[in-house]
Amino acid sequence: MTATSSPPPRTRGARRARGPRVIAPLVSGQEIVLLAVIAVLWVVLGFATPAFLTAGSLRPLFIEVAPIALIGVGMTLVIVAAGIDVSVGSQMMVCGVITARLLVEAHVPLPLAALVSVLVGAVMGAVNGVLIAWGRVHAIIITFGTLNLFQFVGRQIFGSQTVNGIPATLDVFGRGEPGQTLGLPHSFLLTAVIAGVVWWYLRQTPGGRHFYAIGGDALAAELAGIRVRRRVLLAYVVTGALVGLAAIFTIAKGTTTLDQSIGAGEELAVIAAVIIGGTSIMGGRGSVLGTILGALLVQTVTSGVTQLGWPSNLSDLFVGVFVIVAVGTDLLRQRTRRAAR
């Protein structure tokens, strides 16, 4: 089940000779396919709407994709360990409203507000993680419950009003000139850096490989001496913390007003991006790189539909179809592997 399909016992010399093949290949087939699909879509959209392949059109795409991809990085950890978190949208609402009110009403400097947002997100992730790991309840049930709880908290802090006059300090992650370096939006750059770190962690460190072991078979992982509960807790805490950062990106890319719709439906977009990226919903397989590509594909479709002048709601239909196709590919791969054994 794990990405490194269990190697047969070899002698030391043989393993050294095979070398890096014991580790998963740098990019998987699914990721190459995704890259190709995105490239084809970009070319097609470039021909269909000449404005698509311009900086003015691609930059918003990268700004829009940043929060989804960033949360997706955490969600990859969660889903690789055979869990799921449907409460990230509500978490984003809580982080967002706390940050916005800190910035507007307490005039807190941005770094401090960001830190608070990340901490608040981590605490909410910890609530999920503790309930799931120690309460031994299926992740989807717990996170459905906490989805409602966090939404209650968020709306209480909103107090049935919008937060107005969000300051310009957030422009460092915004759409304008201060939000870019070399033409690339800061939010996407930061997301790429974090994704790189988590990608390396999942691939190369023993701790990262534990997530795959847990997703493959949690009981076997426990018996092999992995501290399953701690890893599961860590996955949800990381997701929560990343939601906290993504909330800042989301506020920054919006207007100066924040309303209660922040984060609505975010969980579905994130999960779709992770699944399209080739992470198996059954756990035990997946990569952060795939998630980033999945998020890019989802966002390409969304902006493509808008730019073609089609009804914007139609993009969800394509996202749904892509998810089905991605899951189908995953199943097919599993069957061929099982048949090959």
Partner: protein, 366 residues
Amino acid sequence: MTTTAPSPSNPAEAPDNGGDAPGPLLRAWRAILTRRELLLVILLVVVLVWMTALSYGGYLTGPYDPDYLATSLVDAVPLAMLALAELLVIVSGRGGIDLSIGSIVSLTGMVFGIVHGLWGWPVAAAILLAVLVGGLLGAVNGVLIAWLGFPALITTLATYYAYRSLALVINAQKPISTPNIQSLYSLTGAVEIPVIGHDIPNVPLGVFTFLVPTLVVVWLLLQRTTYGRRLFAIGTNDVAATWSGVPVARTRLLAYVLAGVLAGVVAVYVTGQFASARPDAGTSGNGLALPAITIAVLGGVAITGGIGRVSGVLLAAVLITWLDAGILLMFEGNDGTQFQLLALGAVLVFCALLNSFTTRRYGGTR
């Protein structure tokens, strides 16, 4: 939780029972934990007594009386019916769940609104079509999950997206409320029950025309037919069921079709309730799927499959409806809706933890 319970190892609690026979207190405690209906009845009584006390004390913004409770049942009808749909798919096992059910309500509601409201089909034909479309949309889920072995969670997430998108696009995001549709509102009006109606409050018509028939049919299906037994068999252990000659894929597929059919019926009801076919009828806010799953789990349906009862789901739906109705009265204006979220979430987490606890301690909720 366990601190208040007489523990079996404590000899002072059961001194004269001899051997391992549990004392009456312990038996009662165990029954409350393992008999979900019993726990729900107790919770229901607690909610009713608490709210009525608040009402008499003048803490509520309106009277919490039988009339109000009867009126609020209008919200219990779609919730309970969709929770029954979730019961069917969750019981079918292998991680069965249907997130798309709210979108099916939206899409079939729009189809119903178009053929009845815009094209002027007779009501009966339009309802039949809505049910067929619901069944068809459920069948798409079912084929993917039961035949092709897709994981239910992610499949229905995808179809949730797809159906919701179609529902919004099909009529350019506009609701349909032609006179034809508006006249359906009478479906949900309150009626006086014949013979005994003078002594009890008027109950919404939908309870009799929609909820009660559905309850009876689903109960008969699960408890009195071969299909029902097979459904529990595949949910408990589908390998064993396969070797016993149960057509596992077909049985599971049918569960998703039935869930779609129920969603189609709910779509008609919701259209009548709002006197308008709304493209976001089942997906606005948190949608209808989440509360439906919550109620199913609260009603004692095990998420792992094979366990679940109609009576538990019904009690859970009524409990949540009356709790919500009470919460709404506790606050001025719209503040109550936020506390409904709190109540729903807290109750779900509590019941999930309770399920997990009883499964480990007593081998599951019956």
